[in-house]
């Protein structure tokens, strides 16, 4: 535990002093382009390795329970980050804090140097695609209606919406006939793809996924994992994915953060976690979940 904390603190402290000047300017530029989200194909990267989201000393209490106890984290642009941990470790709450769906008791979260607050949330929301466990689709809208909704409420012209939806459907190998179906007529995997496409509709810079594959059977899960990775590679988003599945974390994550009871147990690559565990808990968590060797081949 102390080693893990040290690591995160180091990461958390190093960034601000180093990059403040130039990146702040970039962030303003990004904001400017944000007002025309559809015209922007892929966000211009100001610096190869700049941090896109920073979490600074965040505490969160829910009822009598301390869900997050002083989290410091940063997420690099255009990489896939995994928040890993058992249920109740605070990983979903952390994600929801980044989205502005909850407020931190203390500390702050910066997205492109803009603090996440109730005031900035509506402004940040179009840049943060959010995907939840079973898709979170609106049952009264067709698949296409769900995907188009974020653009529709922002008054995009119909033609542009249609073009964008079919572009996205192609990206996710979603058959056009499925688009007219309602959520209750879709399989779990299909729902999840629709949910993902809805999150990508406005071409956000970030994609935040909360256990996106948790409700799927193994076959659907594995095929969707492949599809997701392909999509992430194609769109070059900053992806933050919450999961409790170590295999999934290894499959997706450029960087993995293992959370334990509201604190960071360790952050690093999967290799780091496996070979240089920060403490006994890391080893315990990884070994408890490591799939049998036969399954790996």
């Amino acid at each position: 535990m102390p080693a893990g904390e040290g690591l995160s603190q180091r990461i958390g402290r190093r960034r601000p002093t180093e990059d403040k000047g130039p990146r702040q300017k970039k962030a303003v530029d990004c904001l400017g382009t944000r007002q025309f989200p559809g015209k922007r194909k892929i966000m211009a990267l100001p610096e190869k390795n700049a941090d896109a989201i920073r979490v600074e000393r965040v505490y969160k209490r829910m009822g009598t329970r301390n869900v997050l106890e002083g989290i410091d984290l940063s997420f690099r642009r255009a990489q896939t980050h995994v928040l890993l941990g058992p249920s109740g470790c605070g990983k979903s709450t952390l994600l929801r804090l980044m989205l502005g769906l909850e407020r931190a008791d203390s500390g702050r979260i910066l997205v492109e140097d803009l603090p996440v607050t109730p005031e900035t949330q509506p402004q940040l929301a179009p840049r943060m695609g959010y995907v939840v466990q079973d898709g979170g689709l609106f049952p009264h809208l067709s698949a296409a209606g769900n995907i188009a909704l974020p653009a529709r409420v922002r008054g995009w012209p119909k033609k542009r919406i249609r073009a964008r939806v079919s572009e996205l459907a192609q990206l996710a190998d979603l058959d056009c006939s499925l688009l007219q179906r309602y959520p209750r007529e879709l399989s779990g995997g299909q729902k999840q793809r629709v949910g993902l496409l809805r999150a990508l509709m406005l071409d956000p810079a970030f994609c935040l996924l909360d256990e996106p594959l948790g409700a799927l059977d193994p076959v659907a899960r594995s095929s969707l994992q492949t599809a997701l990775k392909k999509i992430f590679n194609a769109v070059k988003k900053t992806v933050i994915m919450v999961t409790h599945d170590i295999g999934e974390a290894a499959f997706f994550g450029h960087s993995i953060t293992l959370l334990h009871r509201g604190t960071i147990a360790q952050k690093g690559t999967m290799e780091d976690l496996l070979e240089r565990p920060a403490d006994a808990y890391v080893t315990e968590f990884l070994s408890s979940q490591r799939p049998p060797p036969e399954a790996k081949s």
Partner: protein, 491 residues
């Protein structure tokens, strides 16, 4: 829907604004045969005098409604009884003669004529073949009898309470019964004794015996004409023509008139003409062709239900939306609409007369209020039932509040909203029949008149179309569900 409502209310306004040159005297009646006939006689006398034309506001539900209408000058003149005026309007039972009553009425801005010549007292009637009794003192010795009394009689101080006081009267049970139904109940032996009026036509026809009030418990009920005090000054010739009726109607005459309408099936107008010595008498009860009459009543009924429903929807849905956003407000809004629902319809109509007069307007307001609860509750429940995850996703998508409401929340709640609207419509089709009691027309008219005349076929002429309209409303809204509820939410 809204446009239709506007159109209908505009046409309604047009009707009321359209006036003829002569001033109007509004004649009221209560909803029993004798009151209809006397009011018709009064109306025809006014029309013959030619100082004013008459607007007939007949069939006002009960004494309370009639008095309120008079006090609020929604009607100008109504046939009444001295005892009723003393007991129910003045609450001074000791006043027994006309001069004393006239004096007491002065501060209320009302005036009465002298007695028209007959008394219509309360009396208790029994079937002499079952119970050979002759006085109320005899009756007091038989506490094993089943009684069925009109609501009014049960509660008027000069009704059952007075009997209990004077005769120490007891019954095995005393049930509340609509007066005109009491006769058939008495004939069939369902009840043994009921309250009657001494001029009731059916007393003779059904061979019933009225018991002698040997201790004079019931005050005298001499028929008089009760009018607003301004009437004699405004229409002196009319008033003297009305006063010329004093002493002209004997008890036998009145009973004959009642019988000619109830048993001889002559209409009120013809009976009155007959009394006033018109040659075109003994015509059969004038009846509009059935189809035309039903069509007219259907329009009136539809107008009542549709307009009130539109307002309930327009007010109810926003109220429920407001309630779903503020817990405390929800408390008040739901509480209010629930309290309204518990007010008996007739009482609500009565409360609304001082504010909205009689006729269509108070009926619309009452129906609007009754229609609120199902819609408010349905919408509120529908909004609360929205999956919190979906709410959160609409926040994560930063959908602006108005669009969130229109594109997400209301569509998701639409099945509940629609079922609330449907319930409200079906209930209002039924409730609207009561609107006839305050002169708003609709299917209630044949029901109320049929009850007064104890004419089942006439009652059915209102009841069956009302039931069919309720069914039609149900089917219409089932169909509308398919149009309004998004396909993804339908089973």
């Amino acid at each position: 829907m809204i446009r239709l409502a506007l159109l209908l209310s505009a046409s309604l306004l047009g009707q009321t604004v359209l006036c003829q040159s002569l001033p109007v005297i509004r004649v009221g009646s209560k909803s029993f045969t004798e009151s209809y006939i006397l009011a018709e006689i009064v109306s025809q006398v006014i029309e013959r005098t030619g100082e004013a034309r008459v607007e007939r506001r007949f069939g006002l539900g009960q004494t309370g409604i009639a008095f309120t209408a008079l006090e609020e000058s929604k009607i100008d003149v109504i046939p009444e009884y001295s005892g009723t005026i003393a007991e129910n309007l003045l609450h001074r039972p000791e006043l027994r003669d006309e001069p004393a009553l006239r004096k007491a009425l002065e501060p209320l801005g009302l005036v009465i004529s002298g007695s028209l010549g007959f008394e219509n007292k309360y009396a208790l009637a029994v079937n002499p073949s079952r119970w050979n009794l002759s006085t109320l003192t005899d009756l007091a010795e038989h506490p094993e009898l089943h009684a069925g009394f009109s609501h009014e009689f049960l509660h008027r101080t000069d009704g059952l309470p007075r009997l209990r006081q004077v005769y120490d009267m007891r019954f095995r049970d005393a049930r509340a019964l609509e007066h005109s139904l009491a006769y058939s109940a008495l004939r069939d032996g369902v009840i043994d004794v009921t309250d009657v009026y001494t001029t009731d036509a059916r007393l003779e026809a059904d061979r019933l015996r009225t018991l002698i009030d040997d201790k004079h418990a019931f005050p005298p009920y001499r028929a008089v004409i009760l009018a607003r005090a301004s009437l004699p000054g405004l229409y002196p010739r009319t008033w003297s023509a009305l006063r010329a009726l004093e002493g002209r109607i004997s008890e036998g005459e009145m009973r004959k008139l009642n019988a000619s309408v109830e048993l001889g099936r002559i209409d009120f107008g013809a009976a009155a003409r007959g009394f006033l010595g018109d040659s075109t008498t003994k015509a059969k009860r004038h009846e509009m062709p059935w189809l035309a009459e039903t069509r007219r009543l259907t329009w009136q009924h539809l107008e009542l239900v549709l307009i009130s429903l539109c307002f309930s929807v327009v007010a109810g849905i926003p109220l429920a939306i407001a309630a779903s956003h503020h817990r405390r407000l929800a408390h008040w809004i739901l509480g209010f609409s629930e309290v309204v629902q518990t007010i008996p319809s007739l009482a609500l109509l009565c409360f609304l007369i001082p504010l909205f007069g009689i006729g269509t307007r108070p009926a619309l307001v009452a129906l609007f209020l009754y229609g609120l609860l199902p819609i408010v509750r349905g919408t509120y429940a529908g909004l609360l039932a929205i999956d919190p995850q979906l709410r959160e996703i609409s926040r994560a998508l930063a959908i602006p509040p108005m669009k969130r409401l229109l594109l997400v929340e209301l569509p998701l709640a639409s099945p509940n909203i629609m079922s609330g609207v449907k319930t409200s419509a079906v209930i209002n089709v039924g409730t609207a029949t009561l609107a006839a009691l305050i002169g708003a027309g609709g299917y209630g008219v044949p029901i109320v008149t049929g009850l007064a005349l104890n004419d089942n076929s006439m009652i059915l002429r209102g009841a069956i179309p009302a039931a069919l309209m309720a069914l039609a409303a149900h089917w219409f809204f089932e169909w509308l569900d398919g149009v309004i509820i998004p396909k993804g939410l339908r089973a």
